[in-house]
Symmetry: C2
């Protein structure tokens, strides 16, 4: 499926009036810096200007491309696929008006024409695809930063919102696919594909329901064996399942069966949207972590909150070795607490944080480190951020710089260096839990 | 205690060199727009310039003030209190170096001098007080917007971080107090005070432990009978309790006892920091809400997630009456779902949202409304925000505009009109749960 996520040549079908869906997609592709050939197609021809470039709109497609993105009226889609089938490998059908509104026949026809030509289909009724490392933004959704997360979403709107919120959360993406009605390719195909995609470090999956449970379990198991797969299942409650049925037509089925499947496949199931982001952030940074955590903080209260949450989530508050305690004692002011949580107190600076992180990191009783920073007094938060970045430590470090505006520069310095921030002590603790489940 | 939160005249004791604590506090008071008299005091005298104003630093206090804020070396505090006792009603002692580092004797002396003159004390070892509606920012912590939340925090650093994060979350504050070592006034005194404070709609309390359990239970019960009291207890786990003991010297005690007390007093216990914000936002808007919720959304997926969470939290998915369903059917496009969740689909505009909210609001089976909006197509999100604001509805409406940057203007319009946004469907659902507990 590289032709979907790393295409060399693409064609876009639809209206290229400003505001039309095909126009928006073309604009996203152009502005996203796609380096291959882009061919807009509309029977009316003409030209379209985007980002200082001018494109001739072809009246029909006359050369081979990897992928066609199709945003034309539903009833015309099967015919178009039949016409361009010999020239394309994949079709992303954005158009709605198929099985989701009862037009099963039209959808069957679409698939039939595609199969005839060996064309693979994403959609119909979908939001499109991003292949972020190929600079291919084949969707009207907001563009995202390159990174390690592949997001597979049954709901286009959920996917779009998650991309935008992911930008805010500092998540980097390798790919995005909204697969809509899944007439041809479905969640299992994408799980298998991203399991082997070299730019994907973790996969996030939003599903309401799947049609082929056996295949799904196999794909999920395969993907989970390669990299972390984070699953958010919607339609868990009785009312939610009913709502899902009327939304994507999914037979959500018994949640207990899904839950068992997730567990069996060793997928990371999250309960809500925010947890999806937190898990994604954790797994973009680290493959996994053990259970024994040490908390390093410049403020007692947040250290206690982190400790509470870690213990509640089944993690362990690491018991620091004697040598570690002695070493910490040797350079920390006497008011500091050298038990776990290690409290460096309010005037902690770069050196105190860096050395402490390095010392606890060297302790064989420690698997990972949760670093908390409330706005330091006397120095800017970015100095503590630099201490975290500079610390010579080969174990997972999860960071909670808290207090919004007041630590913004610190959080920026962290992000510039690939360290993602968790806004509360408890969310940082939860991130470590996801890591411990691998 | 009005002299702490609505003072007319205040004195600040300490160093007024830039960056010194007394300077920072003075600056906050001046920049916060305090309209009463402000007297900086330091034996060395001189002048201090702040925000274009010049203050004479008095060598000693020679006139009556409501409150003295004291940030001088700990050992000099009891003596100062004895000297100025006849001139002040309250003392906020920022200085550290008392019982928290083993100097119990010095703290006893402080209290003794204060009692001798009938002076009430906040602290020592605290971050100070805000009386936001009196424009009195007697702390070095970041200033906040006026609103209905009074924040009482045992931990100064937690309090400071919560204020800054509260600003980001759109919370408005009536007051803030960090009570440090609680040598004189403690959490129970503040609970009682804010229970009767006219500007306070809800109280948030961060505690690690209390000394007088019986008094606390009474104060909590009294305050809860007047308005919602949100409690975040740190030191819930065994390790957390140990950490709390070394932080504030709190005997955190068995969490089970606290939990029973919270329940008995009908306080709203939250488990983590983010929930504290969400509950505060909910209670700043509404006193309470019933359990039967209707979800109104322009996207199926997020509607399903909200439904799942509501049901999981013990709320009910309201069954809409026949008349409601008929009325919705009369003006909604046929693709819309008129069951609960009501799905207005992607092209929903101002009119569709407003009318739907009004119709479901009129249903006697509905107690409250959860409105979800993913970035609408064709129109800006602020139009949907206006629909929420304009809707003629007298039941609680909790809102989830999702997708960060893409709905920012919509969220701003909501906030300008006193409607607080919850960033995910699940957090909005949780807000409704807190409201249902009153």
């Amino acid at each position: 499926m590289d032709f979907f996520f790393y295409p060399q040549k693409v064609a876009v079908f639809g209206s290229f009036k400003k505001g039309a869906i095909a126009y928006e997609i073309l604009q996203n592709i152009v502005e996203g810096g796609f380096e291959g050939k882009i061919i807009p197609v509309n029977p009316k021809g003409g030209r379209v200007e985007i980002a200082g470039r001018s494109f001739e709109i072809r009246e029909r497609l006359e050369e081979s491309v990897d992928t066609a993105i199709i945003a034309i009226p539903a009833r015309l889609v099967p015919e178009l696929i039949d016409e361009i089938g010999p020239l394309i490998k994949g079709a992303v059908v954005i158009s709605a008006g198929f099985s989701e509104v009862g037009n099963e026949e039209l959808e069957r026809e679409l698939v039939e024409k595609a199969r005839k030509h060996g064309v693979r289909v994403i959609g119909p009724n979908c939001a499109g695809v991003f292949g972020v490392h190929g600079k291919f933004f084949g969707s009207f959704e907001v563009r995202v930063k390159p990174g390690g997360l592949a997001l597979i979403s049954q709901s286009g709107a959920f996917g779009g919102a998650a991309l935008a919120m992911g930008n805010d959360e500092g998540i980097g993406f390798s790919a995005f696919v909204s697969y809509g009605n899944a007439a041809d390719l479905n969640e299992s195909d994408f799980l298998e594909y991203f399991a082997d995609d070299k730019n994907t470090r973790a996969i996030a999956l939003y599903i309401e329901g799947v049609r082929d449970g056996r295949r799904f379990l196999e794909a999920l198991r395969y993907a989970s064996s390669k990299k972390p797969v984070i699953v958010l299942k919607a339609g868990k409650s009785a009312s939610g399942a009913k709502a899902a049925a009327s939304h994507t037509g999914s037979l959500a089925g018994s949640y207990e069966i899904y839950r068992a499947a997730f567990k069996q496949a060793r997928a990371i199931e999250v309960e809500e949207m925010e947890e999806l982001f937190d898990a994604a952030k954790a797994f973009e940074m680290y493959e996994k972590a053990g259970k024994r955590v040490v908390v390093v903080t410049n403020s007692g209260g947040p250290g206690v909150l982190a400790t509470d949450k870690l213990e509640r989530l089944g993690l362990e508050i690491a018991k620091l070795g004697e040598k570690t305690v002695e070493e910490l004692r040797s350079f920390l002011p006497p008011q500091c607490s050298v038990k776990n949580p290690v409290d460096l107190i309010a005037d902690a600076d770069y050196e105190r944080y860096r050395r402490t992180i390095e010392v606890v990191c060297g302790d064989e009783n420690v698997d990972s480190i949760l670093v908390i920073c409330v706005p330091p007094i006397f120095i800017p938060s970015e100095e503590i951020a630099r201490a975290v970045v500079d610390a010579d430590c080969n174990k997972p470090i999860v960071v909670n710089f808290m207090a919004g505006e007041l630590v913004r520069r610190g959080v920026e310095v962290l992000e510039e260096n690939g360290v993602k921030n968790f806004p509360t002590p408890e969310r940082a603790a939860r991130a470590l839990r996801w890591l411990s489940l691998r």
